[in-house]
């Protein structure tokens, strides 16, 4: 397509460099998520155009880029909402390209949504208890047959305990018996993150977790993310707000026009001329 013809030879070289750097990173151990040459087209529009990057174990990695850079599409390709046109996504050594969303979630790669998607007519606790994986009571026979149901009840008691702990951790335990639809926007974001963590994920993809959240709550959410990261969770963090990313992530991936433009520490990225030009230099 015509957009492909526009980038100069210089640009192409840089992208190749970035890809090579990413390749090196991938080879090192401790990168649970590896995205290679990911491409996604919608009709004539190429949303993601050969993006490659990897996320380090136990890191809080930021994925930024101006509007239309392909962040959300990349995200949706990783989580199985979209099937990539080409390229591959590997999670902990397994090729998860094109898998169904529920299969990817079962591998321990869980996402949150840009606009919080609580289950409004279910209570906060019901929302929380939905998430854990491999519940025996999810089989109809276990739910209804007298002998098998006892095991389900025991399991439920454990889950309830965990749900309370998680709610207390996110400081929304006072809302536990409220219907999720009655929560404020910020509380929904907290609930959504708490719910995602109930699946016991090894990596969480956060799609703009701070969008529409007030500053106090924003601080609270970031606190929680840092604390969870210290406990060993890995986060990939899509965000529009440059400052938040720069203040919180130790590794940043910058996307532009469907490709990875730059990668590195916040300092490296902000001093990269191409990034300044593409993103910071423009009127943000």
């Amino acid at each position: 397509m015509s957009a492909d013809a526009e980038p100069t030879a210089d640009d192409a070289e840089d992208t190749a460099e970035v890809a090579a750097a990413a390749q090196g990173a991938r080879d090192a151990a401790g990168h649970p998520l590896v995205v290679q040459d990911l491409r996604k087209t919608f009709g004539g529009i190429t949303a993601v155009d050969g993006a490659s990057f990897s996320v380090e174990e136990g890191s809080l990695t930021g994925l930024i880029g101006p509007n239309g850079a392909g962040k959300s599409t990349t995200f949706n390709c990783i989580t199985g909402v979209h099937t990539p046109t080409s390229g591959s996504v590997t999670f902990r050594g397994n090729d998860i390209t094109g898998m169904a969303p529920h299969q990817i979630a079962r591998q321990g790669l869980v996402r949150t949504f840009q606009i919080a998607r609580e289950l409004p007519d279910m209570t906060v606790l019901e929302n929380m208890m939905l998430a854990p994986q491999g519940q025996s009571g999810e089989r109809l026979s276990h739910a209804i047959l007298p002998g098998l149901r006892d095991g389900v009840v025991a399991e439920e008691e454990e889950l309830l305990e965990r749900a309370w702990q998680q709610l207390e951790f996110f400081e929304i335990d006072h809302l536990a018996e409220e219907y999720a639809g009655n929560l404020s926007g910020g509380q929904r974001k907290l609930l959504e993150m708490a719910r995602a963590l109930m699946t016991d994920p090894s990596m969480v993809l956060l799609d703009e977790p701070l969008a529409g959240v007030n500053p106090t709550l924003e601080e609270k959410l970031l606190d929680r993310i840092h604390e969870l990261r210290e406990r060993g969770n890995t986060f990939l963090f899509v965000e529009h707000d440059m400052d938040v990313i720069m203040d919180n992530c130790e590794h940043v991936i910058v996307m532009h026009q469907g490709r990875v433009l730059a990668e590195g520490t916040p300092e490296q990225v902000t001093s990269d001329e191409r990034v300044v030009e593409a993103y910071l230099g423009g009127d943000v």
């Binding site: 969303p101 276990h142 439920e156």
Partner: protein
């Protein structure tokens, strides 16, 4: 009420002033309420004691020869029971509290109270009908037997539908089709091989196998519908189900399937003329065989004679009080005819089946399985993103519900000795939906209540209203057309219109259903029992008791923002 404080107390409590002073009433009521509050044997002993004393007193005071009255024995019962209810209510309810408020109170107590309140009112309404029609006790028992039959079958179907719509949000409007599959497969499997000159032969298998086969077949047809169609959006899925249900009905109706031979076995659907169903085994508890003229057996030989002449002469004719005052004769009429007894026995079986449905579906709903169904209903994308294979859940839930619909159909249409495809028109599906909407989607208890209200007040009620009106008003001929019914208004004649309305009461049920739905949507769109609010978990989702103390309440120490910054550096 001698002392001033007592009077003040009483008027404060009653709020009714001094208008209702009956000597001894206040201490009596206090005593009664005390007994009642103790619960258990004491409360019931006191209440039943009052019933008995009231019965004797009633017989002594207003006893008369029931048979000589035009409106029959039910009136006696009615007056007696009304008096008892009024006395019990006055004694147990807080004074001056209106009936509705008292009902509201009881309504909140438990699901059993809700069921008793609804059934109690349905029974009361039919009691009034029986009194107005002058039915003997047998007639009342027959009417109530029919009401409870429909209550039970509708409750079963609504419970199954609630799993689809209330929990999983699956829009199934092909219920009649799944019922038909259950009924016809059961019939084909279990009607005898030698069906006589007019009937269509079956495979002659035992009835339990036939029933099981019917249920499995309904579930499998559900699977066939679900596999391709659950990918569709809710409304398109609905169109698929209703189309499937009509395909099933029209197939049963066709000549092609009327009688066919597969692998040397001849069987068939009977086509438009219908199909004889295997005999209802409950009948065999009472009769020697299914033949109309069969003699009584087992239960029948015991119960029929007992109920046949159950008329207790409480006051024989020509009795005198203390040998001087003449007393009117009073006979307690409790006689019930054999067919009514057999119907009631089958109603008892149905009540057991409703209980089974209820337990199964409550367990299904209150479990991780039900939780996933609810999540699918709320937002399928979220359920998927949390690792739930939503298609599997939808298919399993749909098949389970369809199997139950098949079983419900067998217990309903399959129990009547005969069925034809007309019994499975889409209107039945629509009625079941109306009952679900009345009861409240998402609530299993609401499903049962919706079934009871629909069966009692919308299904059976209008027919009795017609009977009562025609019993008292001489309507003359029923006009054949609407203009002929409305025309006489000009001359001030209302009766032709009334006759026209009553003559078409079955059709008017549709209007009634419409009016009720509009009123319900205006005032209580979530139905009788909340909208989809039953908690989906195998245990009560409260704060566990050991945590109820301080731990949960104490705020956990919040890490400071500076700490976070330091770590990053």
């Amino acid at each position: 009420m001698s002392s001033p404080t007592e009077t003040a107390d009483a008027s404060a409590a009653t709020g009714a002033g001094d208008g209702r002073e009956i000597p001894g009433w206040t201490p009596y009521r206090a005593w009664f309420r005390d007994q009642w509050a103790q619960g258990g044997a004491v409360a019931w002993g006191t209440a039943l004691g009052h019933l008995f004393v009231g019965l004797v007193a009633f017989a002594l005071v207003v006893g008369f020869d029931v048979g000589s009255l035009p409106i029959g024995g039910s009136l006696v019962w009615f007056v007696y029971l009304s008096l008892t209810v009024v006395v019990l209510y006055a004694a147990t309810a807080p004074p001056a509290e209106p009936y509705v408020a008292w009902l509201d109170d009881r309504w909140m107590e438990s699901d059993t109270d809700k069921l008793l309140i609804i059934l109690g009112h349905v029974v009361a309404v039919f009691f009034l009908f029986a009194v107005a029609l002058g039915l003997p006790f047998n007639g009342l028992a027959g009417a109530l037997g029919s009401v409870f039959f429909f209550t039970a079958v509708y409750a079963m179907m609504v419970l199954a539908l609630n799993l689809h719509w209330g929990y999983a949000g699956i829009f199934n409007i092909g219920i009649a089709g799944f019922m038909a599959v259950g009924v016809y497969v059961m019939a084909i499997l279990s009607t005898p091989v030698d069906a006589g000159p007019t009937g269509v032969p079956g495979l002659g298998l035992p009835l339990p196998i036939g029933i099981l086969g019917g249920v499995v077949a309904a579930a499998v047809v559900g699977l066939v519908a679900a596999l391709p169609a659950l990918r569709l959006r809710a409304d398109y899925f609905a169109i698929v189900t209703v189309a499937l249900s009509e395909i099933i009905r029209l197939s049963l109706n066709s000549r092609v399937l009327q009688e066919f031979t597969v692998a040397g076995v001849t069987t068939g659907t009977g086509g438009a003329t219908g199909k004889t169903m295997p005999g209802n085994p409950i009948r065999l508890l009472f009769y020697e065989s299914f033949d109309p003229g069969a003699g009584p057996a087992l239960l029948g030989s015991v119960l029929f004679p007992v109920f046949e002449g159950l008329r207790v002469q409480l006051i024989p004719p020509n009795s005198f009080l203390v040998g001087v005052v003449p007393l009117p004769a009073f006979t307690l009429d409790l006689a019930v005819e054999p067919p009514v007894i057999v119907n009631w026995a089958y109603v008892a079986v149905l009540v057991g089946a409703v209980a089974l449905f209820y337990v199964l579906l409550v367990r299904t709903g209150n479990s991780p399985f039900g939780r996933v169904l609810k999540a699918i209903r709320e937002d399928e994308v979220v359920a998927k993103s949390l690792g739930k294979d939503t298609n599997r859940f939808k298919i399993v839930a749909f098949m389970f519900g369809c199997g139950l619909m098949g079983l419900g159909g067998i217990l309903w249409q399959g129990s009547q000795g005969f069925a034809n495809p007309n019994a499975f028109r889409p209107i039945i599906t629509f009625y079941i939906w109306v009952a679900l909407i009345i009861g409240g989607a998402g609530s299993n208890t609401g499903s049962v209540l919706g079934g009871a209200l629909f069966a009692g007040l919308i299904w059976e009620g209008p027919v009795y209203v017609r009977r009562v009106v025609t019993n008292y008003v001489e309507l003359g001929g029923t006009p054949g057309t609407f203009p002929a019914a409305v025309g006489p208004f000009v001359e001030g004649e209302v009766l032709p219109f009334l006759a026209y309305m009553l003559g078409n009461i079955s059709a008017l049920r549709f209007v009634l259903v419409g009016v009720i739905l509009v009123a319900l949507m205006q005032t209580r769109p979530e139905g009788l029992l909340g909208h989809r609010k039953e908690e989906a978990a195998a245990i009560p989702l409260g704060r566990p008791t050991e945590r109820a103390g301080g731990e949960g309440g104490t705020p956990r120490p919040t890490r400071s923002r500076t700490g976070a910054t330091a770590r990053r550096g």
